[in-house]
């Protein structure tokens, strides 16, 4: 990076890194992994800054890099067992309030979805992007985006409903 480019890159990092981190956090579910993703994303942005800066929306490039890195990471880890994002309470324990914690459950289930499905949901419901924008970013069609969203929501709904049922039955379900 040339010295003349440093101020603009600095401003970009300060302005956009928080948003990138929040997206990374939702994609990965873990703070330290999100940190690593943002760090790697910013390094790539830095490496290609002149080209990215000349684009209409540097942020879109950065988001695309972030999503690709998250996908890469997931592919590498796909063969391994998922680390459950649970609260450490044993299976036999009955928490009568657990059914009320829908948002926690949603976030937990979100992390159990395949990365592509998870990504479209984050881009749709957190980044507020439309199907065409998501499709462009992920190199898939808008129709695929819609179907992934529908399937993702369906899985989340099933999980949340099952959790509610489990809570209602006092854990006997």
């Amino acid at each position: 990076m040339r010295t003349a480019d440093v101020p603009a890159f600095t401003a970009f990092v300060h302005a956009r890194s928080s948003a990138l981190f929040r997206t990374a956090l939702l994609l990965t579910g873990e703070r330290h992994v999100a940190d690593d993703l943002v760090q790697s994303t910013l390094e790539q942005v830095c490496r290609h800054w002149r080209r990215i800066r000349s684009a209409d929306a540097p942020e879109a490039y950065a988001r695309r890099i972030l999503v690709n890195l998250a996908n890469d990471r997931w592919r590498k880890l796909r063969g391994r067992a998922e680390v459950p994002l649970d609260d450490g309470i044993g299976e036999g324990h009955v928490d009568p309030y657990k059914g009320l914690v829908v948002r926690d459950e949603l976030m937990r289930e979100l992390q159990s979805l395949p990365i592509g499905m998870r990504t479209v949901l984050v881009l749709r419901y957190f980044e507020d992007l439309d199907d065409a924008e998501i499709g462009h970013l992920m190199n898939i069609s808008a129709g695929s985006v819609r179907s992934q969203v529908a399937r993702g929501l369906s899985k989340l709904r099933s999980a949340v409903d099952a959790q509610a049922q489990y809570a209602r039955s006092g854990g006997a379900a």
Partner: protein
């Protein structure tokens, strides 16, 4: 749970989750250093490869000399003239760059240079305004510097060293620091160096910045700089005029914050400082401090208008 409930709940859950973990500051110098280091390694590797190829070529050439064959040229020699062309913006393993990137991420801490920057420029703004000069405690200012001599050299007796020799009434700090007189940005900007352990100022240099207005935030400097200029000139109509130009109608309405929307009721500020930039998908924000009071957040929408402030 019905579809629309689930979608709303999911969006809210994501928002909640994203707010649970405050983002860390990313060290730009560390990022740039890591990239430059990687590039140097690649160049060194390429150069080494060229040397090997050239040596091999020379050896072959020498060996074949008696047979009068055409010497093999090191065809890759030209690649040392320029850095390797960057690959397309494609995904790469995050772990590939992890070793170089690890030290560049750092947590916010009391030694955070951003806090020092905020305190230093607020002090300078206070000191440079006769009405608030008495609020400045020299000992507190001196404590922002790594040592007494640095304090004396940069702050001096009038604080002008901090603001590149000019009296200013506005500061925009987004990593780089921009200085304003009214709505006009100065063509010189300070750059600070900090002690890594303490976050205190070790040096300050001023450099010329392009005067084309890029790099700032026209909404912030236009609105708050405009209010400061109007307060100086006694222009009582400025708040309404600037409000229409820079604040959304909703926020200015009676349901919103009324005529002083965007200022937290400071209608005639003497100086302003905006820092702690934030960003959403289509919006961005700042923490704005008027007259050295407590800072308040503002949100600027995609139409470059202030759509929220003071928590409203």
């Amino acid at each position: 749970m019905k579809d629309y409930d689930l979608e709303e709940e999911l969006a809210a859950a994501m928002l909640d989750r994203s707010r649970q973990e405050p983002p860390r500051g990313y060290d730009v110098d560390g990022l740039i250093g890591a990239v430059r280091q990687r590039r140097r390694r690649l160049q060194t590797g390429a150069a080494a490869a060229v040397v090997i190829v050239a040596l091999g070529a020379g050896f072959v050439s020498q060996a074949d000399h008696d047979r009068a064959s055409v010497p093999v040229q090191a065809s890759t020699a030209s690649s040392t003239d320029m850095p390797p062309s960057p690959p397309p913006i494609e995904p790469s393993s995050p772990t590939a760059s992890a070793p170089a990137s690890a030290p560049a991420s750092k947590p916010a801490s009391p030694a955070d240079p951003a806090r020092t920057t905020n305190a230093l420029f607020l002090s300078a703004l206070r000191y440079q305004n006769p009405a608030t000069r008495s609020e400045v405690d020299p000992a507190e200012v001196a404590a922002l510097f790594a040592n007494e001599s640095t304090y004396q050299r940069i702050w001096g007796s009038d604080s002008l060293g901090v603001t590149c020799g000019s009296l200013v009434d506005g500061v925009l700090a987004s990593g780089e620091v921009l200085l304003y007189q009214g709505t006009q940005r100065l063509d010189r900007a300070p750059s600070l160096d900090f002690d890594g352990a303490t976050g205190k100022v070790t040096d300050l240099t001023c450099a010329t910045v392009a005067g084309d207005g890029k790099g700032g935030d026209p909404t912030v400097s236009g609105f708050y700089g405009g209010l400061v200029a109007a307060a100086k000139s006694g222009d009582s109509t400025a708040m309404t005029r600037l409000g229409k130009q820079f604040v959304t109608e909703d926020l200015r309405s009676d349901r919103g914050q009324g005529p002083t929307a965007g200022t937290c009721s400071f209608s005639t500020p003497r100086f302003w400082l905006a820092d702690n930039p934030s960003s959403g998908t289509l919006t961005h924000g700042w923490t704005v401090n008027l007259d050295g009071h407590h800072g308040f957040p503002i949100e600027i929408d995609e139409k470059a208008k202030i759509a929220g402030s003071c928590g409203g």
